[in-house]
């Protein structure tokens, strides 16, 4: 889905200038922003703010329920898992890896995709044909194949998981940006710029990109949620993040077996995933409305 930005030259307002923003957007969704911020803080803080080492097993405290439930204790607020590891700490550590993976995938994938899409859209001709055919090929490949192939070939480090998610992601940005660029290219102000003698790179970066940026940003923010789900699916299949690293997806997948005896193993990471995705989506919707309230929601 593409949100078309209104055509306007990016002049004194700069890339994200105030003039691109519509006043009708209203204030940002408070709850969503708060949750996002909280998660980012957790991700950045990581080990420093977690009460326990997330990976440390304690066989005397296995499957302890959360503090308020029967059998729980204040020592472990959210309970412990099957190896006695503190759930709260795992949640915080998981925030780091889940958001890092998703964020890096979106950023890196987005950058590559945007660059290639820009090149394809603006330069046209052979360049466009070649790039778009590669894009189509990547889009036709199921992400699971790429994920498993790379994991099998390179191992399951966090870096490799990010690489996999970048590879499965960049093509969507390329396709989106290219179609945006193609339509913007024809607008008058671009023709004017060319007539005025500006070089292609200047035109692309200073004039075309800002107008396409709205769609890119919206896609990126929505993508974070998708990436988190993707990572948890990989963990479910056993080929995602591996111990001693922990991500929400891994915690959810591992805890699934214990669902009937220890609900807290799945509910906390599940809740974290759902809240994260919903918050990022809400932010994305708000941004969409902010950039272009007329066209969509």
């Amino acid at each position: 889905m593409s949100a078309t930005a209104e055509e306007r030259p990016a002049g004194a307002g700069g890339l994200l200038g105030a003039r691109l923003w519509r006043s009708g957007a209203g204030r940002p969704p408070l709850l969503a922003t708060a949750i996002c911020l909280l998660m980012v803080v957790a991700a950045l803080g990581g080990g420093a703010i977690a009460p326990y080492v997330p990976d440390e097993a304690d066989f005397t405290a296995i499957l302890v329920p959360p503090a308020w439930a029967e059998g729980g204790s204040l020592a472990h607020l959210l309970g412990t898992d099957q190896l006695g590891r503190d759930m709260l700490s795992r949640l915080i550590a998981g925030a780091r890896i889940s958001l890092l993976t998703a964020g890096a995938a979106v950023l890196a994938g987005g950058t590559i995709g945007v660059t290639l899409g820009l090149a394809a859209g603006y330069l046209g001709g052979v360049v466009e044909a070649v790039i778009m055919r590669i894009v189509d090929a990547f889009l036709a490949l199921p992400f699971i194949l790429m994920a498993l192939a790379f994991v099998a070939a390179l191992g399951t480090g966090v870096g490799n998981i990010i690489l996999v998610m970048v590879l499965t992601n960049w093509a969507r940005y390329a396709r989106l940006v290219r179609s945006e660029v193609v339509s913007i290219k024809k607008r008058d102000f671009v023709l004017l710029a060319r007539v005025a003698g500006l070089r292609p790179r200047q035109i692309a970066l200073r004039h075309i990109l800002p107008n396409a940026l709205t769609s890119i940003l919206v896609l990126a923010v929505l993508d974070v949620g998708r990436a988190i789900i993707l990572e948890s699916s990989l963990s479910f299949l056993g080929v995602g993040i591996q111990p001693p690293d922990v991500s929400w997806g891994l915690a959810l997948a591992e805890g699934r077996t214990y669902m009937t005896v220890a609900w807290w193993l799945t509910v906390w990471p599940g809740l974290a995933i759902v809240l994260a995705v919903m918050s990022f989506n809400a932010l994305g919707d708000w941004m969409k409305a902010g950039f272009d309230p007329r066209g969509r929601l």
Binding site: A57, Q82, G238, V239, P243, T257, T260
Partner: protein
């Protein structure tokens, strides 16, 4: 209440049916049932059906091409050897009713049962036995496990219709034990008539169940073989449903869609037990779980036997077993289970003593700065594989040994574990292996001999003992020898034995069943309706 009408088809009339229904209705319903029975043999129709949920699909239907333990849930029920496991898991005469063996252990004579039949009704003859051997070793068949048993057979001589003489190339004390799973008897007539890939469409064996049909990745249908020589099942139609996901599979018995569920994860066993309509049945298997130690080219400290013993001391195996397996396993002190031949030797246990372990490591000059790299199995063939390795790492961490874990999926794991050149960047490997029946000359010791596929250890003294192990004529002498070997291995500690898994089954309370012990697959002929 059953009665046969004139066409020989049995129908059942309910004794409490109102008389108003009358004979006509009864006859009509009988006729309807007869129509519905179709081509299936009439007697099987009156037996109830059984549904079993399994976790993996078959790789092959050809008994000469079985490559792994996963397929035995099919083969153990459809095919048989001359000898095989009885209800106690001990070798017993199956297709053969008796045998004699020469004093030098090289020649066996088998007498076949008179009433042994193939599923197509043909009797089992000595010709079939000879043919089974020929096909199993023929190069075109490419039997991947020929080396276990059939490759060691020099010749099978047909003495008469029901007697044959088998001559071995080398003495093999585990011969009878392995007959049951590594030398299935097949029908010469069927194979010769069926042309290429004879077992793809109709795998004909002699087992208590006959093949009916199969839908790849969905189900396999079998039927009870009423003409079996001794193990006639209580069920007519048997459906083996393939449900890969553990929880979905267990749900099958909770909802009643399946009567038996195989490979219940330990975590799900307790809640299953609390249900009114389900019972959890466990049986010991010979599937062992342990950590192999790289004594060849990994961390230098691991080359010393006292260090390896100390590592054993550092892990609280009982606590780990309780925590990860929830008690559904038998602890292992020796490299094999005590029921295995020669593994009943008394040794001084390593014991759990972390302080002493740390002391020993220090005295041995163990380099604590270099972390131990552990290789794990990430995708689930073994229950709790990931948790087990993480638990072991946790115990090692407690005595100051740093660890790094690398979890691989099964394919990558087995490539690394079985690599010809062992990777020096791997210090310990999580491993699981099933012993062949009751004999240690099977896979376990393949894991400690120099150059063995899964061996990360080398010791010429042990090698010499291993090579001699099968070369005995007297059982007592052999037992003494093997006991000594196992005791020596306990001293050398090339691995950290953890436990032997239990097979956990979820079974409907309407059934009664005692699963065959010491195998890791369901043997179904003795499933009965609970009275």
């Amino acid at each position: 209440m059953e009665r046969a009408d004139s066409s020989g088809i049995t129908t059942s009339t309910r004794p409490d049916a109102p008389a108003v229904l009358g004979r006509r209705a009864a006859l009509l319903s009988g006729a309807a049932m007869a129509l519905a029975a179709g081509a299936a043999p009439a007697r099987a129709q009156s037996k109830p059906s059984l549904t079993v949920a399994v976790g993996t699909d078959l790789n092959t239907q050809d008994p000469c091409r079985v490559a792994g333990g996963n397929d035995y849930y099919f083969f153990a029920n459809v095919f048989e050897g001359l000898y095989g496991p009885d209800e106690e898991g001990k070798p017993a005469p199956l297709l053969a009713e008796s045998h004699t063996v020469s004093p030098d252990g090289l020649t066996y004579e088998f007498t076949l049962r008179p009433n042994a039949r193939f599923h197509n009704g043909e009797p089992v003859t000595a010709e079939d036995v000879r043919f089974s051997w020929q096909r199993a070793v023929a190069p075109e068949t490419r039997n991947p496990r020929a080396s276990v048993l059939v490759a060691n057979i020099a010749d099978v001589e047909v003495l008469d219709e029901r007697r044959c003489r088998v001559r071995l190339k080398k003495r093999d004390a585990s011969f009878l034990d392995n007959c049951g799973e590594y030398w299935y008897i097949i029908s010469k007539k069927h194979v010769e008539a069926a042309g290429e890939n004879p077992f793809d469409r109709q795998p004909i064996g002699t087992g208590p169940f006959a093949f009916v049909e199969r839908r790849t990745r969905s189900y396999i249908k079998l039927r009870g073989f009423d003409q079996h020589w001794g193990r006639v099942p209580a069920f007519g139609e048997v459906t083996l449903k393939i449900v890969p996901d553990d929880q979905s599979r267990v749900a099958q018995v909770q909802t009643g869609e399946s009567d038996i569920v195989v490979n219940v994860p330990p975590v799900l066993a307790a809640p299953l037990q609390r249900l009114p309509n389900v019972q959890v049945i466990r049986a010991p298997s010979f599937q062992n779980v342990y950590i192999a130690i790289n004594a060849l080219n990994g961390h230098p400290g691991l080359r010393r036997a006292d260090v390896r013993r100390a590592l054993n001391m550092a892990v609280d195996k009982a606590a780990l077993l309780r925590a990860t397996m929830l008690g559904f396993a038998q602890p292992l002190e020796l490299p094999c289970h005590t029921n295995i031949f020669g593994c009943d030797v008394q040794v001084t246990p390593y014991g759990y003593n972390p302080d002493r372990a740390r002391q020993i490591l220090r005295e041995a000059g163990f380099d604590f700065n270099r972390p131990l790299r552990l290789l794990g199995q990430g995708t689930g063939r073994v229950p709790q594989a990931r948790e087990t390795l993480q638990g072991v790492a946790a115990f090692l961490n407690r005595i100051g040994v740093k660890t790094e874990i690398n979890m691989l999926d099964y394919g990558a794991w087995i490539s690394a574990y079985g690599a010809r050149e062992k990777d020096p960047s791997v210090d310990m490997v999580f491993a699981n292996f099933t012993d062949y029946n009751g004999d240690p000359s099977g896979r376990l010791l393949r894991q400690v001999r120099t150059g063995g596929t899964y061996s990360w250890y080398s010791n010429p003294e042990i090698d010499a003992m291993l090579d001699r192990m099968n070369d005995f004529a007297s059982v007592e002498e052999r037992q003494q020898f093997v006991r000594g070997l196992i005791a020596r291995l306990h001293e050398e500690a090339p691995l950290i034995p953890l436990w032997t898994l239990d097979s956990i089954y979820g079974v409907s309370k309407r059934l009664s069943w005692k699963p065959t012990p010491n195998v890791s697959w369901p043997v179904l002929w003795n499933v009965r309706r609970a009275s």
